[in-house]
Every structure is written in structure tokens, then in C-alpha cells.
């Protein structure tokens, strides 16, 4: 009797599976997330991975996905290792991903030629190759809302504003402490160009990955050179150590400005009371006081569907992950609108990204009023070069430390376009053949 029930149950399950499978295959959107919850950079990677996952999961739980299509989220652990990242790419590209989020400049650089050949969009949100913002050269690569060059230029603008004008930059000494890796080196070219234009002296302080927690001599160099301001292009364990060392060396904390990736709560918290005043560039808000974060808490965190500890939800890097996934979701929605399909393809996604227009009204609709600045991408501009603000650590949390400001786009764009051209020449890069999405 028992066996008969079991057999009937099994048969029913098989039948149910057989009937639901085709529907699932038709109405799903596969989004692989290349994340890192392990390794030396895990402290920065974990909150971002949680934020990215939780937003997409919230859409599944609250709305049943995007536009009627369920999102299939798959995390692939890279450990911030380029080789592993490419393994993740190769092992998932056969599952019809609509977009890749490499979450490492090193992985992005390797992925740019691969994904372009495979015709899969890459969303390297505010990281990766700055020149890839040029959509005419890189039709498959998107890096909104700002490039590292925009970030470095915003730092220079901030210094100028705090010093009384751009003419006051002349004779100043600006330092760049950076991870000695592609990510860390990315802003050097722009800062060198700006130092020539505005007359400030640029000092470079590279930190090897093996010495992220051993920065004694780097900060001795800083003590000797006495730069007026320091820009920190750091990541992972490098950031809390840099903040601690700055405090130890009595460097004025409000003159140490991190790139947006150096703005983790743990980065600043590590410096204790002395870290108060530390600054970091930002392009979205921190905190839980937004309907979108509250929906995540309600539909994901409270149901035990998140890996994030409850008190970490709303922290700066968590919200960074949320912002990243919002870009994915909005591009999917846009692609669905353009094509009329629920289950879009990678090519559809590229169109969706290329004509993405997130207005203030749309931000309000999705519970992000005041969370971020509006964003518009075009065929030519895959970045937006959006407004940035300076966040400041008040001892317990990140607060707004400046008004939204434009990057020095006039300085950045000619260099960026020249860099895109150089890349194309050096790599025998094919000319764009993809048609521009109508209306973009």
C-alpha cells in the first residue's frame, strides 16, 4: 500500500515537473553573479554580493520576477581571482546569460574581448576599463554610472572646491595610494593629465596585494612627502589598514578621500574613533530609509532568504549591490519593452542597456527616491558620467559630506575617447556593426 502511494506520488511529481518545465524555460531570465565571499578581498565582496542577490530575490518574491519572467540567480565564486572569474564565465555562458557582472577590473579586462565575441553584455558598474564607456568602440560593455576617471576627476574637483578654486590647485601635492593591480592603477593616467593641466604635483603610493595589511613604509613615504590630499584607490583589506595608518600618522582624516570602493562601513569602522571624517566618493545613498531597502527587508531578509546579517542591510556596500542589481532589472525591463518578449536574450539586453533611461520619476516608482541620481545611457555613451558626491564617516555611519557634483567631463572625455581609440588599434578591435537602438 505504502509503495503504491509512493509510486503514485512519484509519478505525479514527474508529470508535474514535465508540465511545468517548458513554462519555466520560456519565462526565466538567467543572471549569473560573479561574486567573492572568500579570499583577501571578501570583506568588500560580501556586502556587495548580498545586496545584488537580495534585490533580484526581492523582485522574484514580491513581483514574481521582472515583467512576468522569473530571475534565475546563480552566484559563481571568483575569490577576486581573474583566472577563477574567467572559469566562471566559461562555465556559465552556455546557460544563456543576459548579462555578466565581473566584479573585478582584472576579470573585466579579460572578459571584454571574450564577451564581445560571444555577444553577451558586460555590466562593470563603476569599475573596469574607463575607456569602455565609449559605446561606439565597445558595444557590449557598459560601466555606468561613472568611470574611475570620473571618480578621480571628482576628487580633484572636491579638492579645488575645498581649497577655494581650481587656480588654488597649483603647487599643491596630491597623493594617490592605490592597490598595485589593474583596478588600483586605473586612475593614474587621468590624474597625471590633470596634474599637468592644473599644476598640482602627483605622488603615487602603490600597495602590493601581499602588503595590504603591512603599509608601514608606504605611510612613512606619505609622512615624508606631506601631500595635501590623498586619494585612496583601495580595495579589500587594504582600506581599513589605510584608514588606521592615516590615523596613526596623524594625517588629516577629512583630506583622505577614497574611491567609491573604499567606502565600506567596515573600511571606516576599522579606524575606530580616529576614522571620523574619512571621506569616500559615492553615487548612491547608504541606510535603510528607502522603500526599496524596506521591501528587501520584508520580502527577503525577514523570511531568511538573505545571507546578509540583518544589521548589515543598508550599509554602503550592500546598497551598492542593490544599485547594481537595479541597473540589471531596469535594463531587463527596458529590453522587454523594446522587444515585447518576457524571456529576453543577451542581444535584447544589450539594447535594453543601451537605451536605459532611469528618470527621477522612475527612481521614485521603484522605491529609490533620493537614493541615486537619474541615469541615461546612449549608443555612444555607455556610462552616463553621472553626478557623484562625497560621503563622510561620522564615526558610526556614512553621511552626505558634499552636494552632488559633476565629474570634470570636459577633461575626461577627450582622454577617454583617445584611450578607446588606442585600445582598438592595439587590439585590432573590430568596428561596431551593431545597430543603434532606435530612440536612444
Amino acid at each position: 500500500m505504502k509503495f503504491r502511494h509512493f509510486a503514485l506520488g512519484a509519478a505525479a511529481a514527474v508529470l508535474a515537473g514535465a508540465t511545468t518545465l517548458p513554462v519555466q524555460a520560456q519565462d526565466t531570465i538567467y543572471v549569473p553573479l560573479l561574486t567573492y565571499r572568500t579570499g583577501p578581498f571578501a570583506n568588500s565582496g560580501i556586502p556587495i554580493a548580498d545586496g545584488m542577490h537580495d534585490y533580484l530575490r526581492m523582485l522574484n518574491e514580491r513581483d514574481g520576477g521582472i515583467g512576468g519572467a522569473k530571475i534565475v540567480i546563480e552566484e559563481c565564486e571568483t575569490g577576486y581571482d581573474t583566472k577563477k572569474g574567467i572559469e566562471c564565465y566559461e562555465s556559465t555562458k552556455g546557460k544563456n546569460p543576459v548579462v555578466y557582472n565581473p566584479y573585478s577590473t582584472g576579470i573585466t579586462l579579460q572578459m571584454i574581448p571574450k564577451a564581445s565575441a560571444d555577444k553577451i553584455p558586460v555590466l562593470s558598474m563603476a569599475y573596469g576599463l574607463s575607456a569602455s564607456a565609449n559605446g561606439n568602440t565597445f558595444p557590449w560593455i557598459f560601466n555606468p554610472p561613472a568611470t574611475y576617471w570620473d571618480g578621480a576627476s571628482a576628487f580633484v574637483r572636491h579638492v579645488a572646491e575645498q581649497s577655494g578654486g581650481f587656480d588654488k590647485l597649483k603647487g599643491k601635492k596630491l597623493g594617490l595610494i592605490h592597490l598595485d593591480a589593474p583596478f588600483g592603477k586605473e586612475p593614474i593616467a587621468l590624474l597625471e593629465a590633470l596634474s599637468k593641466k592644473y599644476g598640482f604635483e602627483l605622488k603615487l603610493y602603490p600597495v602590493a596585494a601581499s602588503d595590504m595589511q603591512n603599509q608601514g613604509s608606504v605611510w612613512l613615504n606619505i609622512r615624508r612627502d606631506r601631500p595635501d590630499w590623498i586619494y585612496n584607490q583601495g580595495w579589500g583589506a587594504m582600506n581599513p589598514t589605510a584608514v588606521k595608518e592615516a590615523a596613526k600618522n596623524n594625517f588629516p582624516m577629512d583630506r583622505l578621500v577614497g574611491v567609491w570602493w573604499a567606502g565600506g562601513d567596515d573600511d571606516a569602522r576599522g579606524g575606530g574613533d580616529a576614522a571620523k571624517g574619512y571621506k569616500s566618493l559615492n553615487f548612491h545613498a547608504a541606510g535603510t530609509n528607502f522603500p526599496v531597502i524596506q521591501d528587501i527587508q520584508k520580502h527577503v531578509v525577514d523570511k531568511g532568504l538573505s545571507k546578509a546579517p540583518k544589521d548589515k542591510v543598508g550599509e554602503n556596500l550592500y546598497n551598492r549591490g542593490v544599485y547594481n542589481s537595479m541597473l540589471i532589472a531596469e535594463a531587463v525591463r527596458n529590453a522587454q519593452k523594446i522587444t515585447g518578449k518576457k524571456a529576453i536574450t543577451a542581444e535584447d539586453m544589450r539594447k535594453g542597456l543601451e537605451s536605459l533611461n532611469i528618470t527621477d520619476a522612475r527612481l521614485k516608482e521603484i522605491g529609490m527616491d533620493g537614493f541615486a541620481a537619474p541615469l541615461k545611457l546612449t549608443c555612444e555613451d555607455h556610462n552616463g558620467h553621472n553626478k557623484i558626491y562625497v560621503a563622510q564617516w561620522d564615526g558610526t555611519k556614512w553621511v552626505k559630506g558634499s552636494e552632488w557634483m559633476e565629474p570634470l567631463t570636459a577633461d575626461v572625455m577627450p582622454l577617454l575617447n583617445a584611450a578607446a581609440e588606442d585600445y582598438a588599434k592595439a587590439n585590432n578591435w573590430p568596428a561596431r556593426t551593431e545597430a543603434c537602438q532606435k530612440g536612444s
Binding site: 571578501a42 583589506a237 588606521k244 576599522g270
Partner: protein, 318 residues
Amino acid sequence: MHVLYMVLIDPFVQMVSAPDLFIQTIWEGLVAGVLYALIALGFVLIFKASGVFNFAQGMMVVFAGLTLIAFQDMGLPAIVALAASIGVMYLLAFSIERVVLRPLVNQPDIILFMATFGITYLLIGFGEMIFGGEPKEVNTKAFWLPQGSIEFPVLGGFVQMQKIDIAAAIIAGLMIAALAFFFQKTRIGRALRAVADSHKAALSVGISLNQIWVIVWFAAGIVALVAGIMWGARSNVSFALQVVALKALPVLILGGFTSIPGAIIGGLIIGVGEKLGEFYWGPLMGGGIESWLAYFIALGFLLFRPQGLFGDKIIERI
């Protein structure tokens, strides 16, 4: 000519013209050197007793530090947390002997070396599963470790010393003295030295190899715990620390794999050498040279003393 001046003259001019920075650099190097030496000690202990180069020593530093912090986070008083962490390190030593070393007795050294790679990755995976990947702060106050710094004027400038660094130097000194006493004056210490000299001879006089291995891995675990606390108090304890721990390699090349004084002197030479190199010569090469300078110094020494400063000279008759 200008290059020669910048390499051969200018650094020394800087040393004389800014003596405070010179002293500060030496101090930073000594502090880093003490910590390298602490990590290298763990390698030496195991290598002396078993001839195994324990690649997992760096990860043991991280694991021990995270274990202590986890016990503290559970609300245990500092002393209880410390005792519990020592207990975990004993359990780890016992497990390694039973599961890894004992089945590999009489295997070539390279097999044992590879097994320590396995231990490293097991500890990474297990550690990340239990403790998570975020860096953790050592509660220095709970261990009565001093905070803040002292500054004193030096010829128009100033030298700053972190109290935690001074404490690290004192604790490392005490640790080394305790280990020296343990090796020289206790029965177990003498047994350890006997095993180091000859496994077969030690066995023939009734010394249990298995017991010795547990003791030596446990001692290395305690050294790792101290190194984890001290380094963690300077920055924090994270999995990135295991990479810093590999700085013990040039220390060992320099000091010899079997010498405790060698680990100390080697650590200090590497620490001071890399800081001076980075500070005075680094800017000439774009900075960031200390990551490889330590190996360069060690290789330089190898040319003249292949066995290291204090290592045993191996003479094999053929």
C-alpha cells in the same frame, strides 16, 4: 650620473638630513621584523621536529586569531577565550597528527609538504565557513594591550612609537625566551631536539614520534595565536593576513630553517631591510618594492651562506 647619485648618494643624504625619519623607518622595520620572526618561529618549530615545511603556518595565524575573536564575540572573558583558543589549537594539532601526518609516516618530505597545502586550503574553507570573510577586530583592551602612541623629539623632528608595537616586541621577546627555555631545559624540549637530529635514533630510545609531532604542532599553534593577536591588533585579522605571513619565507632562507635565533635575526634583517629599501630606494623604482625586496635580500644571502645565517651546514659524504 644623476641615476648613480640618486641610488648611491641621495638616500644617505636623506638619512642624515632627516634623522627622525631614518629612526622611524628603522623602528617600523624592527616591529615588522618581530612579527615576521614570530611567524617564522612557527615554521622553524615544525621543520626542526619533522623536517616538514609547514605551508599552513600563515593560515594557522589567521585561524588562531579568528578563533580567539569568535570566542570573545560569544561573550567569553578574555582569559577564557584565550584558553579556549589554545584548546582549539591543541585539537587542531592532534587532528593534523592523526589524520594527516601519521598516515604519511615514511613518505618523502615533498608529500608531507604537499599535505600542508591541503591543510592550508582546508583551514581557509573551514575558517570562511565558520567565521565569514570579513576582517575582524581584536579587542585589544580586553587583553590589557596598550593603545595610543608615544612621541619624542629627534633633532628637529619626531619619532612616533605605537604602544601596541612596543608590547608586540616585548611579548615576542618573552615568547622566544620561553621557547628557548622549553627546548633547552625541559625533557620534552630535549626529546624534540632528539627527534630533530634523528627520527630513528629518537625512536630507538623510546621517544614517541607521534606525541612529539602533536606537541610541536601545538607549540606552533600557540606561536600562531600570539602572532595573530599582535598583527591583528595592528591592523585586523583577515584572510589577507596569510599572504603577509609568507614574508616568513625569506626570513627562513636568511636565518636558516632550523634555528630559532636565526628566525629572530632573520626577521629583523628582513623587516628593517625592506622598510629602508622601500623608503629610500622605492620611490626611484615607482614604489611598492618591499613585496619582492625581502626575497632579493634573502637570495643575496643565499649566494654566500646557502644554509642561512644560523642553519646547519649539511655535509653529505658520497
